[in-house]
Subunit: 106 residues, 2 copies
DNA sequence: CATATTCGATACCATTTGGTTTCATATTTA
DNA sequence: TAAATATGAAACCAAATGGTATCGAATATG
């Protein structure tokens, strides 16, 4: 719970994890399914999923012996909040993004 | 120049570097000035500045023996571009939700 | 000129990170 | 029940990371 910003930024710092996020955006996937998409072992993918979960960017649901990994868009909020501190510098794309998520949350 | 997204995300992954970004948002600073704000050596701060520079988030201007570090807002563009894929994610979700509701109503 | 200031660069160190291998556990399925 | 499947977890490893200390170069300043 503490330092959610740090955990989220850290989760996004790895290219494999960003790829996982993109894949989960189009469909929920099990660990085995995700592993098929990468040139690494299931254990490595599992570690990435743990980091993503710590960052609040995904949530995992047990279904039988499988673990369904799905995106948790709300976890992106701390990142967007931090970035929004610089509205004066970055352009308005950020504001639009935030509004999109907040619309969904209500 | 390659992998600007990765360099930018990596630059933002460290709390000290995010603090530096916040400080530079309010005013340009030399390395010595920044060092005064942290409990670490100038060499450590300099390394962070190098990572931030690699990420395109700051630019450094030599002025005499000093190096003025200033924010480079354009460097945030790759990050915001990547994050904007959530827009599409939400649009899709909302579309699916809408379809589900319409199916129910008929 | 002599000295202090500001920075760059390197070597070095402990810890973290991203990966593997291996084995154990839980759940399907034949 | 036995075997196959899907995962968890731990030990281990090389490389990256974040830090230090130290030396040297460039620039102000007395």
């Amino acid at each position: 719970m503490p330092d959610q910003i740090q955990n989220a930024f850290r989760a996004l710092a790895d290219p494999t994890r960003r790829d996982i996020v993109q894949m989960l955006a189009s469909q929920d996937m099990t660990i085995a399914q995700l592993t098929d998409c990468f040139d690494m072992t299931r254990a490595a993918v599992k570690k990435h999923l743990t980091v993503l979960s710590d960052g609040g960017l995904i949530r995992v649901e047990a279904r039988g012996r499988e673990r369904i990994n799905r995106l948790e868009p709300k976890g992106m909020a701390p990142v967007l909040d931090w970035l929004s501190f610089f509205d004066q510098f970055w352009d308005e794309r950020l504001r639009n993004l935030k509004e999109a998520i907040e619309r969904k949350e209500t």
